[in-house]
Symmetry: C2
Subunit: 213 residues, 2 copies
Amino acid sequence: MAPTKTKRKDRILDAAEALFAKHGFEGVSMRKVAETADVDLALSSYHFGNKRGLFDAVLLRRAEVLNETRLAALERCKTEAGEDGPTVEAIINAFLEPLLAHGYQEDEGWRHYFELVAQVNSSFEWGGQLMTKYFDPLVRKFMEALKEALPNADPADLYWCYHFLSGALTLTFAHTGRIDQLSEGVAKSEDMVAAYERMVPFVAAGFKRLCEK
Amino acid sequence: MAPTKTKRKDRILDAAEALFAKHGFEGVSMRKVAETADVDLALSSYHFGNKRGLFDAVLLRRAEVLNETRLAALERCKTEAGEDGPTVEAIINAFLEPLLAHGYQEDEGWRHYFELVAQVNSSFEWGGQLMTKYFDPLVRKFMEALKEALPNADPADLYWCYHFLSGALTLTFAHTGRIDQLSEGVAKSEDMVAAYERMVPFVAAGFKRLCEK
DNA sequence: TAAAAAATTCATTGATCGTTGAATTTTATA
DNA sequence: TATAAAATTCAACGATCAATGAATTTTTTA
């Protein structure tokens, strides 16, 4: 039997996910992936075609799950709201809470995935194309809900507000340890609950300031 | 004389800055830097020791200028304020406005530098250490001013708010084109004035929501 | 202008890179 | 169980990588 029980294809994805998250696409070699996954070098190319195919497969695997979870959260917050529809806070919460649900538990796979997405999102080379590909259909649904909650908003304002949200979210899940050093331990980058509880009101206040009235 | 009038050392820094911004540290070869700068391969190692030394030199060069400009903006907003000290908006503005002053003009060197910083800030490998090294002494001065403007704030709240600001700022200056695609042209990632005018009130509203009262 | 120092070039080292064709083993099919 | 298909391994290709010691040119110093 194989070195461990899990399937080799999944082990490759897990290893690549962790390595890409820490070192980026160019900073990881196919050899290092194979070694970490305890698998022959040629196997990654066999399953995913080439290095870029492996990268895409890593991003796609959890994007599908995350998009479903987020969509369910949006639908639920809509049904729970009254006839006036959900508040800005409720919509932002539906966007962020699924991340916490996945990232809070000790599943380090999700943690690596979020670190990778954070890096991709801020990357000139990948940011525009890949984030659009994997997340924009869902984000557009959230934008629609926000437009209804903020009926007088200028569309450009709404998009910029979402962009700021995306940036704040991204950096928070990058887990760079920056806030730990800056705050000398007062704020901990590992404490996703603390981040989540503050991000929702912070972002909601920003949306309202720019898009209300 | 050399291929162009500018000094070779500066040409190397300019080329490395542009390339690192687009492709990251691992995505750039010393050979590509030399070729772009129109310089012999060995010259970069001679001037900067090794690839990592070149990377640090690129980051340091403009960090020193930016820190001075930001510090001056902070001092100015303090003197312009009355005895109660500057408002949250004024402090945030002093933090952001210098970026616009540098990035707005057609100096593509600064644009590349900001793209690079954005990538570094969200990188697990570099984010914690490098951002701390180059920016924390200055950021601490801004945090002090914010503490005075929000005297009842819990320190942890303040640090998280700054973290969200840092993320929003970072993504905006990464110029990934994401917002252009999501908004179908309604918002343009190149329009730094539009971003700046919205980021100040957005962030200030977030700070107040969490740290006031 | 002569000597010293700095800057630049040249040529090469050994290591690592992604990819691939062919051979082998394991699994699924009939 | 025989056969086809999928999965995995092996060995190697050519390309590119960062770094460096030695030689040469340019600039500075005295």
